[in-house]
């Protein structure tokens, strides 16, 4: 009986916070877009996008290299090392690019967003904006949201491209797979709409989820040092779990049928 009560209370609390998160996003986005916000968004693209670039480049390169190394040792048994190109490219474009980028983004930029907004709340900067007749949703939340949603697909594309180059580095330059077949079989197998565009769609969905959670957790956190640290942790945990869960759903929708 008590378990049922707890379940009910938990569900209600989840629904309530989902509701207020939706209201927050609504308040931030439904506003008439203001030209003044464009420089702010560019500033935020710098913070969430450019500053995440290094970790994305390094991880992409190494993941591509490792995949080529692992793939080669298996494929060479069947004399099919020519399929290394498509293997690396498809795994990166369909799965690893969007998913790993989103996970890294949640850890690198998502947590920073939560902490920043949380601190702005704790130091009364958000209240102070409101008292200056400036809507913090539009001034603070909206530019960060758009910056995240714009940056993440770009980061994912860069991740995949660098990974494929990393695979080339190991597969072709080191292990001796023929460069021509690496590219040509890849080209014959990878489809622009099905693989590249679907990967980008995935990454846009992940971006919305990660940025939304990060901003909401910061905006709704208890404005104490303890509350902010808890909110930051929650951002990373909740968005990582949601990314993996959503990835399965999206993959099933995009590639599952047929």
């Amino acid at each position: 009986m008590q378990a049922l009560v707890n379940l009910g209370a938990k569900t209600l609390a989840r629904l309530r916070s989902f509701g207020s998160a939706t209201l927050m996003l609504w308040g931030a986005l439904v506003a008439v877009p203001r030209l003044k916000n464009i420089p702010l968004t560019i500033q935020q693209i710098y913070v969430v996008g450019v500053q995440s670039l290094l970790i994305i480049l390094v991880s992409g390169l190494f993941i591509g290299m490792v995949m080529a190394l692992q793939g080669y040792t298996i494929l060479v048994n069947y004399g099919a090392e020519g399929s290394l190109g498509p293997m690396v490219a498809l795994s990166l474009l369909r799965e690893l690019g969007p998913v790993v980028t989103a996970l890294l983004f949640a850890g690198r930029a998502g947590s920073a967003l939560t902490a920043e907004i949380g601190l702005m709340k704790a130091t009364e900067q958000l209240s102070s904006l409101e008292m200056m007749a400036v809507d913090p949703l539009r001034r603070v939340i909206a530019p960060r949201f758009w910056a995240g949603v714009i940056s993440m697909p770009m980061l994912a594309l860069i991740f995949s491209a660098v990974g494929i180059l990393g695979g080339h580095l190991v597969g072709v330059d080191w292990l001796g797979v023929d460069s021509g077949s690496y590219w040509s079989i890849m080209q014959a197998t990878v489809d622009w709409d099905k693989d590249v565009i679907n990967g980008v769609i995935k990454s846009i969905v992940f971006a919305v989820v990660v940025v939304w959670i990060a901003l909401y957790k910061g905006y709704s956190c208890v404005p104490t040092s303890e509350g902010i640290s808890k909110a930051t942790t929650e951002t990373v945990v909740v968005s990582s779990l949601l990314i993996l869960g959503l990835d399965f759903v999206l993959t099933a929708l995009m590639f599952g049928v047929n």
């Binding site: 069947y78 770009m154 491209a161």
Partner: protein
């Protein structure tokens, strides 16, 4: 308020993303034949399509000229029908007498549709494949089990 340095770095970031997209578009994905250009549709009936899939390529002597758009079963005859989309670059090119066969790229490679252009008899007005034409002359996919069966059967009869 946004400093020049920030703008410059964001610009570089965007340029990098565009470069990545171009690499993926030109070097990685086969964007050439994926519905971006106009196509016309022809149909072919096979006895057995083997492992042919939608989006497999249609090749003439190794050159990709189109894709398999749809595979379905003819409800009356109960045999598979393959709907092919051929690029309009090749309209009025293949005679009506062309044949198609399902071939395999290499021993373990994927299956594709090979189109063998038919002859045009000199002096006749050529009739070309056009929208909604049916290709009559088809060769089914080789099914390994059938081949082995035939081989054993022919040895028995010797």
């Amino acid at each position: 308020m946004t400093s020049r340095k920030t703008e410059l770095l964001v610009g570089l970031f965007v340029a990098l993303a565009i470069a990545a997209t171009l690499l993926l578009a030109l070097k990685v994905a086969n964007q050439g034949m994926s519905g971006s250009s106009d196509t016309y549709t022809v149909y072919a009936k096979f006895d057995n399509i083997g492992g042919l899939k939608e989006r497999s390529s249609v090749k003439v002597g190794g050159v990709v000229v189109g894709r398999v758009a749809r595979i379905y079963l003819d409800e009356r005859e109960l045999i598979p029908v393959v709907q092919l989309e051929i690029s309009t670059d090749y309209i009025d090119t293949f005679p009506e007498t062309s044949s198609v066969s399902i071939l395999t790229a290499g021993l373990l490679g994927e299956q594709y549709v090979g189109l063998q252009p038919g002859f045009i008899f000199p002096g006749e007005d050529p009739i070309y494949l056009e929208q909604d034409s049916f290709i009559v002359d088809t060769k089914s996919a080789l099914v390994l089990e059938d081949l082995i069966g035939q081989f054993l059967f022919s040895r028995d009869s010797e």
